[in-house]
Symmetry: C2
Subunit: 250 residues, 2 copies
Amino acid sequence: MPQARSIRGINGSDSRLPLYQRLRDEFLLQIAEGHWVPGTPIPTEAEMTREYEVAIGTVRKAIDTLVQDGILDRQQGRGTFVRRPEFTRSLSRFFRQVDQQGNTCIPESDILSLESEPASQHVRQALALKARARVIHLERVRRIDGKPLFHERIWLSEERFAALLDTPKDALGDLLYPAYEALCGQLIAHAQETLSVGIADALTSAMLGIPVETPVMVIDRIATGFDGTPLELRRSYGIASDFRYQIDIA
Amino acid sequence: MPQARSIRGINGSDSRLPLYQRLRDEFLLQIAEGHWVPGTPIPTEAEMTREYEVAIGTVRKAIDTLVQDGILDRQQGRGTFVRRPEFTRSLSRFFRQVDQQGNTCIPESDILSLESEPASQHVRQALALKARARVIHLERVRRIDGKPLFHERIWLSEERFAALLDTPKDALGDLLYPAYEALCGQLIAHAQETLSVGIADALTSAMLGIPVETPVMVIDRIATGFDGTPLELRRSYGIASDFRYQIDIA
DNA sequence: CAGTGGTCTAGACCACTCT
DNA sequence: GAGTGGTCTAGACCACTGT
């Protein structure tokens, strides 16, 4: 019988906070520390009730907030899981990405280069690297039916992602994040994207097949792990006229 | 003692749906029909418990979902209210709108023209107007500290907004939606915005003080009332280099 | 102070998934 | 059939707002 580690006093949480919020913090800790990982269900509601000595409604409310935030995923009859983030929600999905049959699809990835280089100051800051750290730099083009959609520049800490240097660049597939997980054990949990408008430089315009100095959408992304460490820095260039973004205001 | 109108059978809702979802639908109906309006609290949880003959937890869950969707607003000790939509969440807030003191602020509105005209086919469709209906067309520039931020074109059904034609255009103030409510009794509840990139035409470039053919962000907005009727069509042009949009992917 | 929403409990029963 | 999350109930007590 495991010791019930009552949530009421522990955990560093402000004990004036409602129980369900302290529970929520505790759950986030379990995820950040890697005790709960995507793929295996987290403990059942009944177990948590015993473990933390709270009512099941309180456990449910704590889980509710995390489900709401897209961090957990309930599956009736199966269990509750840590969600893999849905990068289909990226700003990049607002580019016209349909194939000849009219289906939305994942663009093909064509990696132009993959090499080690010293981190520039900007990259070192964004990835929180030590002085004189090295990074892996990828350049790639993403296409649908051969039509270029994005030109992308990506930087990764060489220390964490060294395994990529031993992999032929044509073997990485169309999606990088599964490769990060499989080859380097690095799980991407969150990302922050910033959209702005720029002007195509020589390389980008050549890659996208547009005249130089045409407007392009620029998407800057910083992707982080479950513990908040920045793992990937990415800049994507897309043709501005292919872009259309829609929101609802309630 | 009013008749308890049990939610269990009525309301056109599919009776296989959970109670709280049928309650939610019922609440949305109260809002759409104007029985619940912003400014006065909706009935208390205890009242609804009696009215619909359900447990208070079920009422709370129904309200929870509407609060989550930004439709209701709970205020402890005061009551629960129908929310006025926050148009501070518009895409337009992603333009650099700070004054000389560095504070975010509401741009000044300078109405260039306000006149009645026959609806074009595009406007008629967007506002769901009858054939040969007339519309009110506004053109305005929005500025901060005198610096132009947007050029806007706005169309409204003349039938609903006739009172605007009797108002001097300088008396409308910086925000139109309060004027719609005060002068025309038209409450904006939702809006849908679409962002794309275009090229400034002669008028827009003159209004924004930029060269012709410079890239501009184009925000198309359709704003609707609580019952879903489209009320306003709006197109805003802003300087692309002032634009920066940020999202989080969880 | 009365009345509101906010938190928490304790349990019943249902619907779904897997074996 | 055993075990999971989903729905619903009934009530206690707390925290905040207005008078």
